[in-house]
Amino acid sequence: MAVIEVRGLTKRFGPVRAVDDLSFGVDGGTVTGFLGPNGAGKTTTLRMLLGLVKPDAGTATINGRPYTELPDRPHHVGAVLEASGIHPGRTARNHLRVRAAAGRISPGRVDEVLELVDLTRAAHRRAGGFSLGMRQRLALAAALHGDPEILILDEPANGLDPEGVRWLRDLLRGLASQGRTVLVSSHLLAEVAQIADSVLILDRGRLITHSPLADLMAGTQQTVRVRTPRPEELKAALTADGATARVAADRLEVSGTTPERVGTLAAGLSIPVFEMTTQATDLEDMFFTLTAATAGKEALA
C-alpha cells in the first residue's frame, strides 16, 4: 500500500514549470531513490509533499493525509531538507533540544540520536564550526528524533566524504531493514543503486520512469566487443543475424546479441577472434540516456 501518494502535482516558478503534473506512489517498507539531474524538480516535489511549498495543482499525501494535517508528525515522518538549516551559534545538542521541544519528543532522545549519528563528542560544539558532513549527520539526527516510520531525505549524501557515504548507506540500509519507508533523492544514481528497491527518475519536472531497480537493471543492454582481423566480414554476418555492429579499427562493437552467438557465427565463417569481452551498459549511462532523451525532445519542441 502506498504510504506516499502524489497526484497531478504541479508547481510553476514564473515561466518555469518546476514540477509538471507529477504522479507516483511509494509503498510502505520500501527504499525509493528519487533521481534526476540538478534542477529536475526533486526538491520542489519534496517540499510540496512536506507542506513547505504550495502546489499550483495536485495533491501530495502521507498516510492518506497532507503532511500539515498529520497528527503526531515526528513519529510519522522524519525529513532532512537543507543541511545549511542549522543556526551557527547553537550547539549540536541544543539544536536537537529545540527540535525535540518543537516536536514534543522526550528530551532523553537527544543523546540517543547524537550517538546514532556519531556526534556525541561534538555535542557541545557550535554548529557554525561543523563540516558539511557533520551538519548532514546532525540534520539526520533531528529527522530520526521521533523514530519515524517514513524518512524523506533530500540529497543526504551531499558533502559527505566516501567514508561518510558508506556510513549513510549502512544507516539507511539498517533503517530500511526495520521496515521503514525511505524516499531519498539524489542526482547520482550510484548513491542509491545499492540500497533502493525502486527508483523514480525525474527530469524537467516530469516523471520519466518509476520502476523496481531490478527491472531497470534487466533493461540495460550488453555490448560485445570483438577483436578480429576481418571485422567487416563478421559485421555483415552479425547484421544479417539481426544484431547491430559498429567497426572501430580492428574491433567490432556489437549489441543486440550474445557473446555465444558472436562466437558461433565467427567459427562458422572461420573468422579468427583474438579477443572477446562483454560490457554491460551501466545504470549511470542509462540514467543519462533517459534524461538526455527528454532534453532532446524539449529542444525540438
Partner: protein, 260 residues
C-alpha cells in the same frame, strides 16, 4: 501553542544573540545614564538640570532609549533570523501552522524583551541613583514614580520586542528589517512629530518612550517638546494594537510564502 512557545523560548536561550543584546542594552544604558548624570548641573549647551531637581533626576532616569530600540531589534532577529540561517524549513516542519509559529515567536520575544527591559532599566536607574547618592542629594522624585518609569521601560521593551517579530516577519531580510525599524523610530516618527505634535503621542515608538517616562527634549528618541503623553495604559494598549496589526498583516502575506 504552549509547545511552540517553549520551543521559541529555547531557541532564544540557546544562541548568544539575546544575551549579547541584553548586555549591550544594559551597558549602553548605564553609559548614557552616567554621562547624563555627570553633566547634570554643569551648564553647557545641552543643559541637564542638577540632580537634586525633579527635572534633572528624571532626565537621567529616563535616558534609556537604547534599551527600547534594542528590544525591538531582538524581536526582528527572532523572526528574520529563521530566514537568514535557513532554519525556517525545520521550524515549519515541526509546526506547519505558520500563524501559530508567528504568535509563539511574538510571545517568546515579548518575554525576552521584558528581561532585556529589566536589565536595561536596572542599569539606568542604578547608575542614576548611584550618582544622586554620591553627591549626597535627597531623591527629588518619589520612589513610586521611579518604579513607574522602570515598569514602563520593562513593559515597553516587551511590547516592542513583540512588534519587532512582526516587522522581521514582514521584512525577511534581517539588515533590511533593522534599518526599517531604525528609520521608522528615528526618522519617520521624528518628522511626523515635528509636523504635528498632537499626532506624535500616538506613534508607537514615541508612545513606548513616553511609557518609559521620557519627556520633551531629552533621551533617545527626542520626544517632541510640548507633547502631551498618552496615559500609560493607553500607550501600552496602542503598542499591543500595533503588534497585533503588524502580525496579522504578516500572517496573511509574507508568512504564507513558499519556503524554498
Amino acid at each position: 501553542m504552549i509547545t511552540a512557545i517553549r520551543a521559541e523560548l529555547l531557541k532564544i536561550r540557546t544562541t548568544p544573540l539575546a544575551a549579547a543584546l541584553l548586555a549591550l542594552a544594559a551597558g549602553l544604558n548605564g553609559l548614557v545614564a552616567a554621562v547624563t548624570a555627570a553633566r547634570a548641573g554643569s551648564g553647557g549647551s545641552l543643559t541637564v538640570p542638577p540632580l537634586d531637581t525633579t527635572a534633572g533626576l528624571r532626565m537621567v532616569l529616563t535616558s534609556g532609549g537604547f534599551g527600547l530600540i534594542l528590544a525591538a531589534v531582538l524581536g526582528v532577529m527572532v523572526a528574520s533570523g529563521e530566514f537568514r540561517h535557513h532554519t525556517a524549513t525545520d521550524t515549519y516542519l515541526d509546526q506547519p501552522n505558520r500563524a501559530r509559529v508567528l504568535a509563539a515567536k511574538a510571545a517568546a520575544a515579548a518575554a525576552a524583551g521584558l528581561v532585556l527591559g529589566l536589565a536595561a532599566t536596572a542599569a539606568t536607574t542604578g547608575t542614576g541613583l548611584v550618582f544622586t547618592t554620591a553627591r549626597g542629594y535627597p531623591l527629588a522624585l518619589p520612589a513610586a514614580t521611579i518604579a513607574r518609569y522602570a515598569a514602563g521601560v520593562i513593559v515597553a521593551s516587551g511590547l516592542l520586542a513583540a512588534i519587532g517579530v512582526g516587522v522581521g516577519s514582514l521584512i525577511r531580510n534581517q539588515i533590511g528589517a533593522v534599518i526599517a525599524l531604525l528609520f521608522w523610530a528615528f526618522g519617520i516618527e521624528q518628522i511626523i512629530g515635528g509636523l504635528s505634535r498632537s499626532t506624535a503621542a500616538y506613534l508607537p515608538y514615541t508612545a513606548a518612550a513616553t511609557l518609559a517616562g521620557a519627556r520633551s527634549g531629552n533621551g533617545m528618541p527626542q520626544v517632541p517638546a510640548g507633547l502631551t503623553p498618552l496615559p500609560a495604559p493607553a500607550a501600552a494598549a496602542l503598542l499591543t494594537a500595533t503588534c497585533v496589526l503588524i502580525a496579522v498583516i504578516a500572517a496573511a502575506t509574507t508568512v504564507q510564502r513558499d519556503i524554498t
